[in-house]
């Protein structure tokens, strides 16, 4: 055992791996803790199949970018170690995600709550973009929420550096419902604007409580988008008909967003419009977004600790191992209709065995009055 092996073994000893809490495409996630402090963590074990082609590209990206990014609104990578043939990422433990919050029909969102989630999303994203990193897979399911209400960008498996502007990139990124039209048209030279479009879709979803542009195929995604926002003209988006995969998908009129988002303030609608602008270069940047009047006008964003979140399931006494078998992979991407409200894929993780998280979780109903943070 040389110095590197020893250092790795020492790092590994700092963390204890407990029960399995979830499974993604390229990783199995376990609950874990830091032995010295008892701090709760998530340990993401990357599967390295013997017959597979080495390490998954997403895993490599995730390690690379999370190592570089440290920000309150980006999930924190606490450590990395390898065990024989596996790679283990130690991540801060996060209770829930925005998708589950949106789908929980028992929760009521105030405009100030939506503003708070949006502000945290913009802050995390501005930090990524400032560091020349594109996320490329923003969707409610990848915006995780900590026990204290802080929202964190997670899942950097599709992230990419963009320091080189003329670099051709793959357009096969971003879950379909959150994918901007330039990618659907096969554009290979794109930038931060792709993430902003996704943020716009998330913004709309927070208000509607259902996905805003749920296309059923790539083609249908364009149709759905144009039906909602009007077919772009050459003036709206110069040159888009010259993009590699351009296809005409029909003429749809522009209906003012105000009609669908009737309760939204003018600032709110303006920011939404600026995120869902067809011409990528005219789309708002994350930095401009932070200074948008929406964030500085009344009502002010809710304090993260006061944001609504799904209540922990009461009286769940099943041992987690037994629950494991029941964790169905619930699709959250294209082709899958909105999840039934209580098939909560993160439920297991928010069910704290010690019950310590229960005191923070609160169920809200329509009658309850919640003061907004000043």
């Amino acid at each position: 055992m040389d110095a590197v092996e020893r250092a790795n073994a020492d790092r590994q000893k700092r963390w204890a791996k407990d029960q399995k809490i979830g499974e993604g495409t390229y990783a199995v996630v376990y609950r874990g803790r830091e032995i010295a402090t008892g701090r709760k963590v998530a340990i993401k074990k990357i599967k390295v199949g013997q017959f597979k082609d080495g390490l998954d590209m997403s895993a490599i990206r995730e390690v690379k970018y999370l190592r570089e990014l440290k920000h309150q609104n980006v999930i924190e990578l606490l450590d990395v170690f390898s065990s024989k043939k596996n790679l283990n990422l130690v991540l801060e433990f996060l209770e829930t995600d925005l998708e589950l919050v949106i789908r929980d029909r028992s929760l009521v969102f105030l405009p100030a709550d939506i503003k708070s989630w949006m502000a945290m999303t913009f802050r995390g994203l501005e930090f990524c973009h400032r560091n020349f990193i594109l996320h490329r897979d923003l969707k409610p399911n990848n915006l995780l929420i900590a026990a204290n209400g802080q929202l964190k960008l997670a899942d950097f498996g599709l992230a990419r550096e963009f320091s080189d502007p003329g670099y051709k990139m793959t357009c096969q990124v971003i879950t379909r419902w959150y994918r901007p039209p330039e990618l659907l048209f096969g554009c290979r030279y794109y930038s931060t604007a792709v993430d902003i479009w996704s943020v716009g879709c998330i913004f709309a979803e927070l208000m509607l409580r259902t996905p805003y542009l749920p296309g059923e195929s790539d083609m249908d995604q364009l149709r759905t988008t144009f039906r909602a926002l009007g077919t772009p003209t050459e003036e709206d988006w110069p040159g888009h008909t010259k993009l590699p995969d351009y296809v005409p998908v029909g003429q749809f009129p522009k209906t003012p967003l105000r009609e669908l988002f009737s309760a939204a303030t003018p600032e709110c609608l303006n920011l939404l419009t600026r995120c869902l602008t067809y011409e990528p270069r005219r789309r708002i940047s994350a930095k401009e977004g932070l200074y948008h009047p929406y964030f500085s006008t009344h009502p002010y964003p809710t304090h993260p600790s006061k944001l609504p979140k799904p209540a922990a399931k009461m009286g769940s006494s099943l041992p987690l191992e037994e629950l494991d078998g029941n964790t169905e992979p619930i699709g959250n991407g294209p082709g899958v209709k909105a999840n039934p409200p209580n098939k909560l894929k993160r439920k297991l993780s928010s069910d704290d065995v010690n019950g310590s998280s229960r005191s923070i979780a609160r169920r809200l109903d329509f009658t309850q009055h919640r003061p907004t943070a000043q």
């Binding site: 040389d2 080495g54 590209m57 690379k64 990014l69």
Partner: protein, 297 residues
């Protein structure tokens, strides 16, 4: 932050690399590093791989030998692993099969050249008949393929692990363009080409794991302007490289690394290095050159 925090080797790592610790002399290690990088480069060309990925692979490869001994891993396997990993990092993945085939071809070719050289050395007086190199493609189901594939997967993981998962690599090309602009040399095409060439050649040396990009770029400009006889302000108090925060001593060291690449090599030097692509060859060499005093490991 992401663009400036790339790791450099620490002083103790430089003073005594793991390979040197294992008894591999300085010069030999340098040769093996350069040879491993050359293989990466050649494989990259045959695979039509993007230059950015190839350069990234070479830098990861160079870093690796500051934390690992060549007695423990072979330069062939690690080079292959570095190219594979870098291709994923730079989003231009290559098929594992293609990479393995290309490395196999390269190594067979080198082995052939080596055998020829050894044979002609033995029969130095009589003209030795040259045989044509004939590549025997391996079978996908044969052992070689699986052995190489296994070695590749292990190498990829080892690189990640031993570099502490720090994969940030900064390439020097943009910096070169900017510096030439500042120095008013952009219009000199010969300067651009030559400096670019030095930067590429430097990828065969450990300098990217030792010095900052500005220092390396300055060294390439220094070599270029000296070679082409272009005068730049170099008097104390007013040196052009100070504009870019580079130190003379560092520049000079980088130039030394690059210049050593162009040193004349005997055919024995060549064949010796070719025989040490796998760690087996390195171990054998170490056996044969065990210090008489017995202070080896």
């Amino acid at each position: 932050m992401s663009t400036s925090l790339y790791p450099l080797a620490s002083l103790p790592q430089i003073e005594k690399t793991p390979s040197r610790e294992d008894g591999i002399p300085d010069g030999l290690e340098e040769e093996l590093r350069a040879y491993g990088c050359k293989l990466i480069h050649e494989a990259g060309i045959l695979l039509k791989q993007n230059q950015v990925a190839v350069a990234t692979a070479q830098i990861l490869f160079q870093r690796f030998w500051f934390v690992t001994s060549m007695k423990q891993f072979g330069i062939g396997d690690i080079g292959m692993g570095a190219l594979y990993l870098a291709s994923k990092l730079e989003e231009c993945p290559i098929r594992i099969r293609d990479l393995i085939n290309i490395y196999d071809l390269l190594l067979q070719r080198k082995a052939h050249i080596r055998a020829q050289a050894m044979a002609s050395r033995l029969a130095s007086t009589s003209a030795h008949p040259r045989t044509e190199f004939k590549y025997t493609p391996m079978s996908y189901f044969g052992n070689t393929f699986y052995e190489l594939k296994d070695a590749l997967v292990v190498a990829e993981m080892q690189i990640l692990k031993r570099l502490g998962f720090n994969l940030t690599v900064v390439l020097p090309y943009n910096t070169l363009v900017n510096y030439l602009r500042v120095l008013g040399l952009t219009s000199r095409e010969d300067v651009c080409t030559k400096a670019w060439g030095y930067l590429n050649d430097a990828l065969q040396t450990p300098v990217y794991a030792l010095y900052s990009v500005p220092t390396i770029v300055c060294a390439a400009i220094l070599l270029t302007t000296r070679h082409l006889g272009i005068g730049l302000p170099s008097a104390p108090e007013n040196c052009w490289w100070e504009l870019f925060d580079a130190e003379w001593e560092d520049l000079w060291n980088v130039c030394g690394y690059i210049m050593r690449l162009y040193r004349e090599r005997t055919s024995e030097d060549h064949t010796r290095v070719m025989g040490m692509v796998a760690k087996k060859g390195v171990r054998q060499w170490l056996e044969e050159h065990r210090p008489a005093g017995g202070e080896g490991h």
